[in-house]
């Protein structure tokens, strides 16, 4: 209930609010995670070539998109790390010039799902990407959200 209320508050203004300003209980600063003792979370990743999935694709529970990758990871994982893990199972993501766009899929207060882009990475770190070092704890990620990855 508290989480739902928080999400609802964050969803109302169109631009995503900066952390700690509009949300009443400020998000705790990311702490380093001891991966030997902390239980990993399940991140359901849906990949698609050429673009992101739409909200309607996630509308029906149990009928999510087909190309699903289940990644077990921790909240201190960066987008670079997630990119490398996606390359483990997706050959399309291994192309030299492949570009991966990440988007969170989270429920809204109307019963459906929202898809919001949060960053982009290159398959191979050949030049500096500002989103490579962002971690899940820095981004507005809640455990249980889906991750939609578009491979261009």
């Amino acid at each position: 209930m508290a989480e739902a209320a928080r999400r609802q508050g964050g969803g109302r203004p169109l631009p995503p609010p900066p952390r700690g300003v509009n949300q009443q209980p400020p998000r705790p600063k990311p702490e380093p995670v001891d991966r030997e003792k902390t239980c990993p979370l399940l991140l359901r990743v849906f990949t698609k070539s050429g673009g992101h999935h739409t909200s309607e694709d996630y509308a029906v529970r149990g009928k999510e998109p087909k190309d699903e990758v289940q990644i077990y990871t921790w909240k201190d994982a960066s987008l670079r790390e997630l990119t490398d893990l996606v390359k483990e199972v997706s050959v399309a993501a291994r192309r030299r010039n492949a570009r991966l766009s990440f988007a969170f899929v989270y429920p809204n207060n109307k019963g459906g799902y929202n898809v919001r882009e949060v960053g982009e990475t290159m398959a191979y770190p050949n030049r500096k990407q500002p989103d490579d070092s962002k971690t899940l704890s820095e981004l507005p990620f809640e455990i249980g959200d889906y991750l939609d990855v578009a491979i261009y």
Binding site: M1, E3, A4, R35, E36, K37, C39, P40, L42, R61, G62, E64, Q70, Y72, T73, E81, D84, L85, K87, E88, V91, R94, Y124, E142, I143, G144
Partner: protein
């Protein structure tokens, strides 16, 4: 220890990747600037020079054999004419009759010379120049002479007759020389010499053509080898990167295996995919339940209740404490599971690496074909350039033929100096031919050295690759 080994291996992989990239850059630079093209251009030019320089020889020899007797006569005659004509020239500004007589004589001699030079070849124009030179000397000598002595000798008919006689002698000598030259050109020695020169020229041309073809083949072979080597290096680098990824994946999976236990999952009747082992963090569990569970049921096993959801994937809660009393068996099972996963993933990565290598080598043929097409287009342009070079060489040859003859004019008055000049001309020609031969040989040596160097480099790079593979 395992972590240390993995980290070291990762560092080694990164080092190897950097080395492979450096080699790739080196090969690319070599492909952009093949040096053999310049040498090929030079070797084309030298034989033509050699062929053209052969032509002036017979003319020079004829001059050498013909000049001495003519020079001797000229020198003695000129000396006498100088002594007497000086006074005559002195009267130019004073006496009108003297002027008329002088002009008439010059006009006659000039016309005669022009007619004769029209009939003869270029070599005879030299003597015409000498005569003009002599006339200039008359004028120079005339100035300081006193006036009274000049006047009475102007009307002397003996001088006029003597001048005519000298002109007749000169013309007769020229005609004799022209006949001799015709005779010599018909002799067997001349024909044999001409044939030998033509044969030598043809031989040089064939040699040049053969060298050019050989150079082209060498260039093509070298380029093919370089492209293949670069493709192999690129494929190797790609494979090393995959190795790095594999290490990361393995490390990640190893940490995950602390929280995934197939043994516990197998306790239940349901078909299991994933099971979590949660710590004593109720808030964490509650958040997860609120987010993910809309329906759940309970499964009872022993003294522990577990929850199941209908959502995919099926998620089960495991008890806080392990059911198995024997911990070592669980550890072994965990290790075994991890190794199985690792083996399967390793096989998949290896297959992908082979695919990468085949793709890179396939690109080599395409690049080589593209390069050859570009080269054919360039070849058409080269033909135009060769034509320009030919014209330039002809111009230089012309200059060389006429250059030495200018030096004969200053020494016209003295026979000995003239002979020395001719000798120098012959030596100069020989020196230039020798220098051309040296340049040609040097070029060949350089080309061979470059080929050897490239071969050595290629072998060294290949050895490096083999070493890295080991």
């Amino acid at each position: 220890m395992g972590d240390t080994a993995l980290e070291k291996t990762a560092e080694e992989l990164r080092h190897e990747i950097d080395e492979l990239h450096r080699q790739q850059r080196e090969i690319t630079e070599r492909l952009r600037d093949p040096r053999g093209l310049r040498r090929g251009g030079f070797s084309n030019v030298a034989p033509r020079n050699q062929g053209r320089r052969g032509f002036p020889r017979p003319a020079e020899r004829n001059d050498v054999e013909d000049e001495p007797p003519a020079k001797r006569r000229l020198s003695s005659a000129v000396v006498k004419v100088d002594g007497e004509d000086v006074s005559k020239d002195g009267e130019f500004p004073v006496d009108g009759n003297g002027t008329q007589v002088k002009v008439g004589e010059n006009g006659t001699s000039d016309q005669s010379d022009k007619k004769q030079s029209g009939l003869h070849r270029g070599s005879w124009s030299q003597r015409d120049a000498e005569q003009r030179r002599t006339n200039k000397r008359y004028e120079a000598f005339a100035l300081p002479e006193p006036a009274p002595r000049v006047l009475p000798k102007n009307e002397d008919p003996k001088l006029v007759n003597r001048n005519r006689r000298m002109l007749g002698n000169l013309l007769g000598t020229l005609e004799k020389f022209r006949k001799e030259d015709k005779q010599r050109s018909g002799t067997d020695a001349y024909a044999r010499r001409t044939a030998a020169l033509q044969r030598a020229e043809e031989k040089a041309r064939e040699e040049s053509e053969r060298l050019r073809l050989q150079e082209r083949e060498n260039l093509t072979e070298k380029r093919r080898r370089d492209l293949t080597l670069r493709a192999r290096v690129a494929a190797k680098a790609e494979q090393k990167k995959l190795e790095l990824l594999f290490l990361q994946w393995s490390e990640h999976q190893k940490k995950l295996s602390n929280f995934i236990s197939d043994e516990i999952a197998n306790c239940y009747v349901f078909h299991l995919q994933v099971i979590f082992y949660f710590g004593p963090k109720s808030v964490h569990i509650d958040n997860f339940i609120e987010a993910k569970i809309s329906f759940h049921s309970r499964a009872y096993k022993g003294n522990v209740w577990c929850y199941r959801t209908k959502a995919e994937p099926r998620i089960y809660y495991a008890p806080v404490k392990p059911l198995e009393e024997d911990t070592s068996e669980v550890e072994q099972q965990k290790e075994r599971t991890f190794l199985e996963w690792k083996a399967a993933r390793r096989q998949e990565v290896s297959e992908y690496q082979k695919e990468i290598e085949e793709q890179c080598l396939g690109n080599v043929e395409k690049e080589l074909e593209r390069w050859q097409n570009a080269r054919k287009a360039r070849k058409a342009n080269n033909e135009g350039m060769n034509l320009q070079e030919t014209m330039d060489k002809e111009l230089e040859t012309h200059r060389m033929e006429h250059g030495p003859k200018k030096r004969k004019i200053p020494g016209g008055g003295v026979g000995d100096e003239d002979e020395e000049d001719e000798v120098e001309d012959i030596n100069g020609g020989e020196d230039e031919m020798i220098m051309d031969d040296l340049l040609e040989e040097g070029g060949d040596g350089t080309i061979k050295e470059e080929v050897a160097t490239d071969t050595v480099k290629a072998e060294a790079v290949e050895e490096d690759i083999k070493h890295e593979v080991l």
